[in-house]
Symmetry: none
Subunit: 209 residues, 4 copies
Amino acid sequence: MTRAGQDKAPAPEMAAPRHRGNRWGRSEQARQAVLEAADDLLSERGFAGVTIEGIAAAAGVAKQTIYRWWSSKTDILMDALLQDAAEELTPGDHGDLREDLSDHVSRVAAFLTRSDAGAVCRALIGQAQHDPAFAMEFRARFLTEQRERDRLPFDRAIARGQIPASTDVPSDLDELLGPVYYRALVTGEPIDRQFTDHLVDHYLRRLAR
Amino acid sequence: MTRAGQDKAPAPEMAAPRHRGNRWGRSEQARQAVLEAADDLLSERGFAGVTIEGIAAAAGVAKQTIYRWWSSKTDILMDALLQDAAEELTPGDHGDLREDLSDHVSRVAAFLTRSDAGAVCRALIGQAQHDPAFAMEFRARFLTEQRERDRLPFDRAIARGQIPASTDVPSDLDELLGPVYYRALVTGEPIDRQFTDHLVDHYLRRLAR
Amino acid sequence: MTRAGQDKAPAPEMAAPRHRGNRWGRSEQARQAVLEAADDLLSERGFAGVTIEGIAAAAGVAKQTIYRWWSSKTDILMDALLQDAAEELTPGDHGDLREDLSDHVSRVAAFLTRSDAGAVCRALIGQAQHDPAFAMEFRARFLTEQRERDRLPFDRAIARGQIPASTDVPSDLDELLGPVYYRALVTGEPIDRQFTDHLVDHYLRRLAR
Amino acid sequence: MTRAGQDKAPAPEMAAPRHRGNRWGRSEQARQAVLEAADDLLSERGFAGVTIEGIAAAAGVAKQTIYRWWSSKTDILMDALLQDAAEELTPGDHGDLREDLSDHVSRVAAFLTRSDAGAVCRALIGQAQHDPAFAMEFRARFLTEQRERDRLPFDRAIARGQIPASTDVPSDLDELLGPVYYRALVTGEPIDRQFTDHLVDHYLRRLAR
DNA sequence: TATTAACCGAGACGGTACGTCGAGTCTTACG
DNA sequence: CGTAAGACTCGACGTACCGTCTCGGTTAATA
């Protein structure tokens, strides 16, 4: 759908090589500048302040270059999200389901409510409410991957024999994370560690019957 | 904040009288036409297809008339939502917490995923992700009221002595409704009765320890 | 074809009245500013320097206002030409064909090669070479009128009995004015009084057999 | 000024040899393809439809190759004109001034109003109205040569003693050809043989006093 | 025989202007 | 006083070409 590249520069902290009129491909320099400009504009001026013209100006890039590689501003933000989200949202392995979940759920809460990438994520979920086609793209490009990461603690617990293999993980994920997203997206209520730990506690107590 | 009027229809099911230059107040006819046009445009052309100009044209109303009474297209949709949501989302009283909750949670799910007013609601939640000021307005004008309705089953159960008065109702509401909103807003997964009943069941089982 | 108005402000040297958000019609103020800006840009930066954006900026007018009333930059220049050309190109009446012609032909030469309006005229003739549809419009809106003016000396001479009523005026006009246009448009040769007087002289000598 | 090559075709009617990477010189194949593509685009889509990108695409040539040899689209059209015009516009020698002129003037008329190369010529004259620098180039590269051809009948008549050596040929040319160009460029009036013959007749009658 | 200079197609790049859409403001005539 | 009408300024949209820049590939004169 979108030709946006996901690959990163082999060594991300190295400066992107100067673009030199290239037959084989796009300017990594321009790509990074665009993603960063989009991110900056979102946090400084809000979603309405993110415009293709604004990004182009801030990134020192021609509009046409943006349209060559991205189909819309949300497509750009999606790339920015994919580049940043994975590491912030990959659950660690503490060898224990409660600890893994407690850690991950509170990490998701912090991501959604406090991080820059989380702001991008919320903006895209917002856009998904306005545009069904984008909603599908969001799910295909981000959510599917994220759900894979979210379920890792469960998969490890199953492997350990801590919970039965028959566990309906997707459904349980909805119950655990739903309230977090609900607060982040709808009520705006702050999400503290106590709340997330209660969620985990209720879930584990239910498992234990 | 907004000058939108909510009331005034002398006899709501009667056709509004043709407005003929009124010295003493706004045209109820124009108000209804605007709200309906906004609703129609949203369902037919999506959120981006809702424009002030489009609404004015569809409603046979001057742009200035819209700007006189509403501050933005989301303000209009808010009025439309408030007009429609209350009755769809007021929980009935079956004399039993499980039944009340089961009914209400599934009703919320249906509202969000299948009704026209629910589409308006999702669009506004989407907009809230893009605009913090609007998020506050959404919470003040719709969400507070809705949360009052949502908690009615709990209040009645407390009055009946079915659950302790110390119940942290807001928090429990988040746990019950969060997964529903999460599916509706984020994953797009369909929400069937089985899923909502599981939510209620898990909640009640936890209460019973 | 174009909705551009030709009417002038009733008293042209009076400042156009301040535009005051008008139900019945366009802003005369904006109209004049656009025509003048187009003229200025043409003489200062050449035809390629005349852009809709440039005119809008110079006239302090929105692009949309230009597109509302004119279809292209040549349409604007046409209006500017029509507003200026008539007086510069209306032949005077000296009671004698030779004098009338001598005066008029040299006036046409001066117009084409030295006046600002003549520069507009040459630019439009240039555009007519590039765009057959515009060529037709040019002929309908300017040339027909101009040919009426050009033939006035002949009509008066016929009325006076100085030349026969059977004179093929259009054809004679081509012979008299053609060389002037040819020099102005093609060779760029300067056109002095001697050249135009020779043209008139040759024409009159031919008449006299 | 322009690097456009005029020569080099070893045998012009032979198909140009396939270019296969050449150290010493440009690809005749590319050159011809560009000129033809420019011609085609002009006749099919008008002057505005002639773009460097369009020519490159139509000719199967890289933009850079065009920019290497020509400075602008008008520079290309100039080459195309020079390649085609000479033969169409060289007056024949019938041994008689009237016949030579009659033939040549009507040939010029046909060229301007009916031939493809004439369309190119008119387009360039049009461009000359928009761009004084180009006007000079047009005169230096095409018009000077063409004027040499135009005067041939006069030179031959002088050599024959048919007209005096003191004849002001350039001025007479303006009088003879001016009306033809005027009709072709300005009025759009068709130019038939009767009109051109009248021009010649009037000229010759004047000579004869 | 291998090198290498000159030209080629390709296509990404930073720009400018295009023509369109909608936002939000303003003024008027009417009821 | 509220309304329909509609012209206004402004900002962004997405597109088309501009002219510049490398790139890798192809050939033929030279080394």
